[in-house]
Amino acid sequence: MIKTAPATTASARIRGAFSEGRLTWSGLALTVFSILVYLFLYVPIVILVIFSFTRDEFGVRWTGFTFDWYIRLFNNPRMMGAAWNTLVVATVSTIVSTIIGTLLAMAMERYRFRGRNAIEGLIYLPIVVPEIVMAVALLAFSAIIFDVIRMVTGEVLRRNLATVTIGHIAFSISFVVVVVRTSLKNFDRRLEEAAADLGADSWNIFWRITFPLILPGIIGGALLAFTLSLDDFIISLFLSGPGTSLLPVEVYNRVRRAITPEINAISTLMLILSMALVALSQVLQRRR
């Protein structure tokens, strides 16, 4: 059989697809557009990850593979200190804001009380208020509190991990409330009636029925609070004191001098941790 050469060329195949209606201009445009959007989103991140393994000490050219920057990172006490601070702040603020946020969500979902609508509006405010405003407000507030403490007890306090933790709790609560309320909305309250009918008091109803069933929502809220705390910069910058800086602030201070592959390495690690947390929360949500 004689092969008809033109039919096998790429341009001919595309022309064929057009004439058969498998390919349209709008479909093609949409595909190209989607690819561009994804490139826009992910190319910088991919480059960051790649250049955390380059031998080039300025981290901008590929000169060969190495783990050196990760090793150096783990031997850098300032970086490791900041990472430890970040984990402590994130853990404490997550636990506190999850407990407060869950209780608040329960109160708002379950009870009608005076001022409920006002609280409803106010609780979401920290989500929309510019973070810089929150940061300045918290900074000013902490200064006032420190002044009061100094006048009353004579003790001179400085900003430290506690102040930054309180700041993180303040903005995390709102996010926890949003997530937990969603799972409370989907919770069938007749199950609580059934439990009461079977002899459970309110303590047992909560711990045996309500809590296990809204737990995925609570975990979702906690993971959100944790990731928000991990990468928070503005409030952390304003509220942390001397010698207690958090990882994003420490990274920023380094970058001001020079971008090194070490920065790429720590960024990559934070990226992996965040992605792992998001994946974990997805898995937990799906288990429901």
Binding site: D188, R190, E193, A194, A195, A196, D197, L198, G199, A200
Partner: protein
């Protein structure tokens, strides 16, 4: 069945805002009986059940369970258990854990729990499904788990809130019989809420018919069907023919009424009614007899014309026109096994209907 009282409602009222859901209900439910609360949706039957369970508190009046005033006793301290319409099984627990829940709340020893759970699941024929989750079960199986979960606690009274509502027709019939035999075996008082009159008639020892928050009649299925005490009950339970009229006198045991167009009918009245009282004459379609005209009208007979004849297998349903305003429905059982329908009533034929006065009721209000 003993004569002691399991549940007593004394002048119970429940208001939700301006709505009176339950309106001065007085009721006694006997020990060991299968008692149904029957009525259309919104009649107050579910509110009544929820007050017995303790999910709602009466606005006024009192509820006694085996003579103990319930007052504001919360649900978990009442000696009753509920089977919910939606089953309300705990989705995060296995079948066995669901059934064990009530026993655990009562701090029953572990070994004893295991034994009783096994027994309860055998009782509802679910052995072998202990480790399934509720969502892996069919509707009928979920229903049985809900039953086992309640019965395992040996409640003094079992409350059932339309438990068969979500099942398909066939399964529903099966479960009706099964519930009935289960109740006979365990001997626990069942209070069963339903809007399905056939279900109530099939299963109950006694039925309470409710409408608009009021308790209209309490009686055995036969009493409720054969001797309804008002128009609503006659209409809600089964089918019936209604003819409006006024009382014009008495004839022995019977009360005589006259319709606006001058027809005179005799029937039984629950109590003596004075002349001039507006009443409704009620006779069930299967009680009416249809005769060929032979010149003279028999007592309590009316002349008419056959309008429609519908053969539905077990019965033939015939509509007879009495006059311009009125038709009467008659159901005749097809006792003759013949294919020759030409022998039967034909539309347009003249006929005489007879309402046997012992089966016809004169209902006031």
């Amino acid at each position: 069945m003993s004569d002691s009282i399991a549940i007593e409602l004394c002048d119970v009222v429940k208001r939700f805002g301006d709505v009176v859901a339950v309106d001065h209900v007085n009721l006694q439910i006997r020990d060991g009986e299968f008692f149904s609360l029957l009525g259309p949706s919104g009649c107050g039957k579910t509110s009544t059940l929820r007050m017995i369970a303790g999910f709602e508190l009466p606005t006024a009046g009192s509820i006694l369970i085996h003579g103990r005033e319930m007052g504001i006793t919360p649900p978990h301290l009442r000696p009753v258990n509920t089977v919910f319409q939606s089953y309300a099984l705990f989705p995060h627990m296995t079948v066995a854990q669901n059934v064990a829940f009530g026993l655990e709340m009562r701090k029953t020893p572990k070994a004893e729990i295991a034994r009783q759970v096994k027994e309860a699941l055998e009782l509802v024929r679910l052995s072998g499904l202990e480790d399934r989750r509720p969502r892996q079960l069919s509707g009928g199986q979920q229903q049985r788990v809900a039953l086992a979960r309640a019965l395992v606690n040996h409640p003094e009274v079992l409350l059932l809130d339309e438990p068969l509502g979500a099942l398909d027709q066939k399964l529903r019939k099966e479960m009706q019989l099964e519930l009935k035999s289960l109740q006979a075996r365990v001997g626990i008082t069942f209070v069963f809420v339903t809007h399905d009159q056939e279900e109530a008639l099939t299963m109950s020892d006694r039925i309470a018919v409710m409408n608009k928050g009021k308790l209209l009649q309490v009686g055995t299925p036969t009493e409720i069907y054969e001797r309804p005490n008002c128009r609503f009950v006659a209409d809600f339970i089964g089918e019936t023919n209604f003819i409006d009229g006024v009382v014009i006198g008495r004839d022995g045991n019977y009360t005589v009424l006259e319709t606006p167009e001058g027809l005179r009918l005799r029937g039984l009245a629950a109590r003596p009614l004075s002349d001039g009282t507006a009443v409704t004459y009620s006779i069930r379609p299967e009680k009416v007899r249809l005769l060929a005209p032979n010149g003279e009208l028999p007592p309590n007979g009316l002349a008419g014309t056959v309008m429609t004849v519908n053969y539905i297998g077990s019965d033939t349903r015939i509509t007879v026109r009495i006059n311009d305003q009125r038709t009467i429905d008659i159901w005749e059982q097809n006792t003759r096994s013949t294919l020759d329908r030409d022998e039967y009533w034909q539309p347009g034929e003249a006929a005489v209907i007879v309402c046997p006065p012992d089966n016809a009721l004169v209902l006031s209000e």
